[in-house]
Symmetry: C2
Subunit: 360 residues, 2 copies
């Protein structure tokens, strides 16, 4: 026996790594995971070249040498093992897993062909893992899947002395969330897909960030990550946040979200799922009309503002997305029928969304 | 108000119908559902030409005429309605749904273009819905997805005086299950996909069957179905059930199933996921070997039979499938290394499976 490890710990670490290690690649060695024994456990690492990841698994280690094995196959074997404990022997040409009545011999790959993965030993800033998690989840929807500017496919981190702000936009809408923290002054843009993987490893406590050359390194719990950053300047988004508000309406965010989704069933898919918002006399009327019929819903709202009636169209999905991270009441703030609308909560949640109305 | 109906009842009936009504069709009217008001409720019906279906929804009906509307859109609207009660007005050109603050107007289709759907008013035989459900679920896996003979894509119903038998086979394996019932003597072959839909509507109590011209009609609870049957003769499957058994091994079915799935991770995908079964001295050894390594597992079994050792290969998936419907112990009965193997339970469950070993 060289290494004895709890199946659950090993399996959990592999599940996290499996998400970033490609199942297939033009460079086949990228589909491997590296197993590196140490004094008190084993390090598992892999990369997709956009993102490196390392997980630590506590284990009883006598000896053994570093090897690489096909990641997904290895994970599948471990998950299916019959016992709670796994014995692993690492040799140059094969590793052996024994558990219960099962015995698996898996051929190793060429370790010298595997990319070198290194993580910083110091950290530049710490922040609350849960706050970062909530903020990433809140703004993620507003990133572009395709866009003329690559930066729109990322989430901007604005680190300031006392505040962290995450911003995402696709040019038609914008989402941002602020939270207390940082202590440094730095901007960086994290690719949306890497942000998703970062978000998955954020749990309790503090997460440590280290700034490298076009690189952000993150250490959280037993997992480490290097994220390749997006180059480029994030556009000046503050100018699209409307300040000259003409009409405000307030109602429960969940109520508006449900009503918009409901009427949108009949909205014209070829006209950006247009739903008409008509505000008048403390009522918000939603109307959608398409090839198959017409849907209408009237909602009671708290209204503030001098306009006798205002009518404008939104993409139903954009409104639903903007309302998604909200709890309690939303205050929908309209600056005009062609200018951006602001969605805020009544409390100081730090979250806000901007949606540009559809043209008439 | 013409019709008042509970959202849940309407939504449930539509969900069942939605499964068979095509979302798109060369004949667009097939994507519609017919709404037919009656004294005590409304009938909803639709067809995919292989299968007609009708559901009854209790409702308070004042008046209204039969119409057709796009099925999936209608179902989506109903599911999202805010209230528990729905008011429906059926007119020739449009139907109106009102619930809570929502109002939907949906254009109707051309009723005269909709296929005529009729169900028999008598039944030929009744059987226990749960037994039929269990048997359909037990043999379904053995049907062929593609085969030289169309009948292999169906499930054979053998109705006899005191017994019902369902049989399925794809030429490489076979599954059958018997249960008490019937009272008639009849064979019919139900297409696998229609059998799946039939299975979904089987709940408690008795199900009524009526035999038509190449057609099986079924009435269960509030749902009726006409199923177009497969023509052709089901091959004489009884001759592949082995009788000259040389070795029997007995062990818990779940244990064998898990072990086979486990070692199969390393089996050669290009060699039918071959897993070697080696029986010797009250031990069953499973071995799989492929490009990435070798897996082995030893299981204790009760052995009966004179052969000193027997070794044969199976497709791992076929073994897992055969064990799927089993509870308790399986008795694996081997007739030779190239002849079919029989999988039975120790109790009189009525279920058995036959799997042909892989060639050497």
């Amino acid at each position: 026996m060289q290494i004895q490890v709890t199946k659950k710990f090993l399996s959990d670490a592999l599940s996290t790594l499996e998400r970033i290690i490609p199942a297939r690649s033009n460079n086949p060695v990228l589909s491997y995971v590296k197993i590196q024994p140490s004094d008190r456990g084993i390090y598992l690492s892999g990369t997709n070249l956009e993102l490196d990841m390392e997980g630590f698994v506590p284990a009883q280690v006598e000896n053994g040498q570093a090897v690489i094995v096909p990641a997904h196959l290895f994970a599948q074997i471990v998950r299916n093992l019959p016992g709670e404990l796994v014995e692993i022997n690492l040799n140059q040409s094969e590793i052996t897993l024994t558990s219960g009545g099962s015995n698996f011999k898996l051929q190793t790959g060429d370790l010298s062909a595997f990319p070198e993965i290194q993580f910083p030993s110091h950290s530049d800033v710490e922040m609350d893992a849960k706050e970062l998690n909530r903020s990433l989840s809140s703004v993620r929807y507003a990133t572009a899947t395709e866009a003329f500017q690559q930066v729109f496919r990322g989430i901007k981190f604005e680190l300031r002395a006392k505040q962290v702000r995450l911003v995402a936009s696709d040019g038609f809408r914008l989402a941002l969330r602020d939270f207390t923290g940082s202590g440094v002054d730095r901007n960086l843009i994290v690719p949306a897909k890497s942000a998703d993987e970062l978000n998955r490893i954020l749990k309790e406590g503090l997460v440590k960030l280290t700034f490298g050359d076009h690189l952000l390194s993150v250490a959280s719990d037993r997992t480490k990550m290097n994220i390749k950053l997006l180059d480029g300047e994030f556009p000046d988004y503050e100018r699209v946040i409307p300040s000259n508000i003409k009409v405000k309406v307030q109602l429960p965010a969940s109520k508006l979200k449900e009503a918009v989704s409901r009427v949108a069933v009949l909205a014209d898919k070829n006209a950006n799922n247009r739903v008409e918002f008509l505000v008048s006399e403390s009522k918000l009327q939603l109307i959608a009309e398409g090839d198959y019929g017409r849907a209408q819903e009237v909602l009671e709202v708290l209204q503030e503002g001098s306009e006798p009636a205002i009518s404008l169209g939104f993409n139903a999905k954009f409104v639903s997305d903007a309302l998604g991270p909200m709890e309690g009441d939303v205050v929908l703030q309209l600056s005009g029928v062609t200018t951006p609308a602001l969605f805020k909560t009544t409390d100081e949640s730090g979250y806000l969304a901007v949606v540009v109305p559809l043209r008439i």
